[in-house]
């Protein structure tokens, strides 16, 4: 098959996959962990522990409250130091549980062995409950509670499961490493998700810059009916779910809609693996693969990291903070969040810690828009970023809504490509927030 890709826009930033090929190593245990209770999209979970409590690894410490919410487990064994508000990656304080690490004693009932269990028991319902029980959220970045995605809304029918192994963000290699090393388990995870969804067909989409992963996954799925591996053109944001659905199935998720509107559900490879652990091994989501990378980093690595570990701990592990570091990003360079401090905790959604040097980090001075149309050309959603930015800047919310600002997937292609270095996405995001507020208030009336 030829190279599939999405139809509109896209950019190709330098890939810089420095840590590609690095094995996944356990990062080890830090002295303390801080586990926020909102690591997912949706309502914060309800804390179940108090200061002074002893907790075991894998123990439930906060439970889902409401439908779109999920469980949170302790990632270490130790004593709860504080249940209080701690600064998250943005510096604003959010409720979290701080635990002094003492040892690593897993809670009873969790299978910590490395045996491959391929038999999938249980109904779809049971699978969903286990996924909720394990606190699984989407690891592709949005951290949407996965059990919710498994529940197909009335009137809709899921036909395909798409597994997102694209990893189109430059630098990041966590999904890549996972596919290389855990392919068999991943496949079981996919089967679990298929069963949970009740679909017969799954496609794994992988960008063509990971030929080894394509090969490994193809081999791993060779004997599996209904699971197919598909190479994709290297183009950002190939991994955006709407783009992926279009690239693989040539279906366009409608504006304002979800993949399920065209019969598709998308999961990240990490989510599939986490589902495997949760369903087959009863192992909640308390650790994930985090890429620590950057051009000056001594030891770019893919660490298997406990949730709540401070990023500074990982950076130390990767050879320490290089002197020329000017920006630390939680995530990749296109969608990640720059942080002001390096002691922020790793959460379920953290896919990487990226250290940029000064010359890479600084934005160029903003110049006037020269209407070069480049941003229009690269927008995968067919929007007009230059216009949206100006409208957002001038507070023209109605035109913004009319011009479909809500369709923006915040991929950043526009800001990336603008020769005038205009802060397009900065303002578009502002516009989205404002328009979203207006739309919600309208609905409420």
């Amino acid at each position: 098959m030829g190279l599939l890709t999405f139809s509109r826009g896209g950019v190709h930033p330098p890939e810089n996959k420095i840590s590609a090929g690095k094995k996944i190593e356990p990062a080890g245990l830090p002295e303390q962990v801080v586990i926020p209770v909102t690591q997912h999209l949706g309502a914060p979970s309800k804390v179940l522990v108090n200061k002074g409590d002893e907790v075991m690894t894998g123990q439930l410490i906060a439970e889902a409250e409401g439908f779109v919410s999920t469980n949170i487990h302790s990632s270490v064994t130790g004593k709860v130091l504080k249940v209080d508000k701690f600064p998250d990656a943005s510096g604003y304080k959010k409720m979290a549980v701080q635990i002094q690490v003492e040892e690593d004693q897993w809670e009873a009932g969790i299978d910590t062995s490395d045996d491959l269990l391929t038999n999938i028991d249980g109904t779809a319902e049971e699978i969903r409950n286990k996924i909720l029980g394990g606190g699984i959220v989407g690891l592709g970045g949005a951290t949407f509670p996965s059990h919710v995605k498994l529940m197909t809304p009335k009137g809709k029918k899921a036909e395909y499961l798409l597994i997102n192994g694209v990893e189109c963000e430059p630098y990041l290699t966590a999904d890549h490493a996972l596919m290389m090393e855990k392919s068999a388990r991943l496949v079981v995870g996919i089967r679990i998700l298929m069963k949970g969804l009740g679909v017969e067909k799954a496609i794994i989409g992988i960008e063509n810059n990971k030929p080894d992963a394509i090969e490994v996954m193809t081999n791993a799925t060779a004997s599996e009916d209904g699971i197919q591996v598909q190479g994709l053109k290297v183009k950002y944001p190939q991994g955006g779910e709407k783009q992926l659905v279009q690239a693989l199935l040539n279906r366009e998720v409608p504006s304002g809609g979800l993949p399920i509107d065209v019969g598709v559900v998308v999961f990240n490879v990490g989510t599939a693996y986490a589902s495997y652990l949760a369903v087959q091994k009863n192992r909640p989501l308390i650790e994930r693969v985090v890429t620590v990378t950057g051009k000056s980093v001594a030891n770019p690595s893919n660490f298997l990291t406990r949730i709540g570990t401070p990023a500074s701990f990982l950076i130390e592990k990767a050879g320490g903070l290089p002197d020329d570091t000017a920006k630390v990003i939680n995530g990749g360079p296109m969608m990640g969040k720059a942080v002001a401090k390096i002691d922020i905790p790793i959460v379920k959604g953290s896919s990487g810690i990226l250290l940029l040097r000064e010359n890479e980090a600084l934005r160029n001075p903003v110049q006037p828009c020269i209407r070069c149309t480049k941003c229009v050309g690269v927008c995968p959603m067919g929007l007009e970023p230059y216009l949206l930015m100006t409208q957002a800047e001038k507070g023209m919310w109605e035109p913004l809504e009319r011009d479909h600002v809500m369709d923006c997937i915040e991929c950043g292609s526009c800001s990336y490509t603008c020769p005038s270095s205009r802060p397009l996405l900065d303002y578009i995001r502002l516009g989205k927030a404002e328009v979203g507020k207006i739309m919600r208030s309208r609905k409420a009336v």
């Binding site: 002001a340 001075p365 903003v366 110049q367 802060p423 303002y427």
Partner: protein, 389 residues
């Protein structure tokens, strides 16, 4: 009479009469009675069309005024009582005096009180920065310094002080239209009663965090200790969520609370020097400073016992020495009211990375000029002015 004249008369009179009939009906059916007083009232209003009254424009407000029976809730902050009195006269109603208001910026997180520990490099917009993170300092309530409030002011009444990184209101120009209040994503700006001689006393902090935490963020934060609350003889101070608030209507400007505050978070502005001998010298500086118009900075400087310093950048070292010598040190030159970058900042300058900081500063200026394009002229001017000072 010649024929032509007769024809002329016939034609014109016929056409005139027909036109009259048509226009008569037009007038009958069409004329919407427009209260002539609306025009008069509109004329009395300042035509700023700023929306400060809550209506879309001055004309809309004029209509509302004419239509409503009383002046409750109807006030033009820009024209103030004067305009409202004129309006009242036109409409033959009782004018309702409303205290003139003025905007104050309730954050005094200058760099030396609230160290900047990172560099913001995004769009020059407080709203953007606010939605991204806590800002260059730690305080999640503190001023972000991108000047959204400056950009929206139609009256050129609020400027960024490049030394303090905080906006300053020019009391004479401020019309209390409230645009800046709405623009500030952190709700730092408050409209409060304008007292005589532009004097004001207010808690320059909105941090509701507990004392210890607040103090961590910023050394001049209100820590909610209630000392001012207790000392106020007029019940003008209320405590809420660890934060003191001075009601500008009740406050009689007795200044008892000011010295009470352990963190110096209560600002007094535009006051004559106190009687206290020791402080006299110090306050002298302030008065001068008041005259130069840079009131907030100056007073703030005095307030905290630190000195305003004329030769800003170059004397950073002197400044930090002064700090080291303790809070009583007075710099006689401190009459410009501008403030040197604080101690921390001075220290920071010795560290690598300053270059980046400088670059960014420079760039921010440019960016601000660009993205706030419409205002860029004034901004430029304002900056120039400050620098000249």
């Amino acid at each position: 009479m010649s024929q032509i004249i007769i024809y002329t008369i016939i034609t014109l009179v016929v056409i005139g009469a027909v036109a009259a009939i048509i226009l008569y009906f037009v007038a009958q059916r069409f004329k919407v009675y427009e209260d002539p007083r609306i025009d008069l009232v509109e004329e009395a209003l300042p035509a700023a069309n700023c929306g400060g009254c809550g209506y879309a424009g001055c004309r809309n407000f004029a209509e509302a005024l004419v239509k409503s029976e009383t002046f409750d809730d109807l006030h033009c902050p820009v024209g103030g009582n004067e305009a409202m009195a004129t309006v009242a006269e036109i409409l033959g109603r009782e004018a309702v005096e409303q205290d003139p208001l003025v905007a104050v910026v309730r954050c005094n997180g200058q760099p030396q009180y609230r160290p900047r520990n990172n560099i913001y490099d995004g769009a020059v917009s407080c709203a953007v920065a606010h939605s991204l993170y806590t800002g260059e300092g730690d305080c999640p309530h503190g001023c972000l310094g991108c000047g959204d409030c400056v950009a929206v002011c139609d009256f050129d009444a609020i400027h960024m002080n490049p030394e303090t990184g905080l906006p300053e209101v020019v009391d004479d120009k401020c019309t209390a239209c409230g645009a800046c209040v709405k623009a500030c994503p952190r709700d730092i700006i408050e409209l409060r009663k304008k007292n005589k001689k532009d004097r004001k006393i207010f808690v320059s902090c909105i941090n509701e965090e507990k004392g210890g935490v607040a103090k961590q963020y910023c050394s001049v934060a209100c820590i909610g200790c209630s000392k001012c609350f207790k000392v106020c003889p007029f019940d003008a101070i209320t405590m809420n969520n660890n934060l003191a608030f001075i009601d500008s209507v009740k406050c009689k400007l007795c200044r008892k609370c000011v010295p009470e505050c352990p963190t110096d978070s209560i600002l007094e502005i535009n006051f004559p020097p106190p009687r206290n001998k020791e402080e006299e010298k110090e306050k002298a500086g302030v008065e001068d400073a008041g005259k130069t118009g840079e009131k907030v900075g100056a007073t703030a400087a005095v307030k905290s016992g630190e000195k305003a310093d004329r030769k800003t950048g170059t004397e950073a070292a002197v400044k930090s020495r002064a700090n080291a010598e303790g809070q009583t040190a007075v710099n006689a030159e401190g009459n410009t009211g501008t403030q040197v970058e604080g101690k921390t900042e001075a220290n920071a300058e010795k560290q690598p990375g300053t270059k980046t900081a400088e670059k960014i500063e420079e760039k921010k200026q440019n960016n601000a000029d660009d993205t706030k394009g419409t205002k860029s002229g004034e901004n430029g001017d304002a900056n120039e002015k400050t620098q000249k000072d």
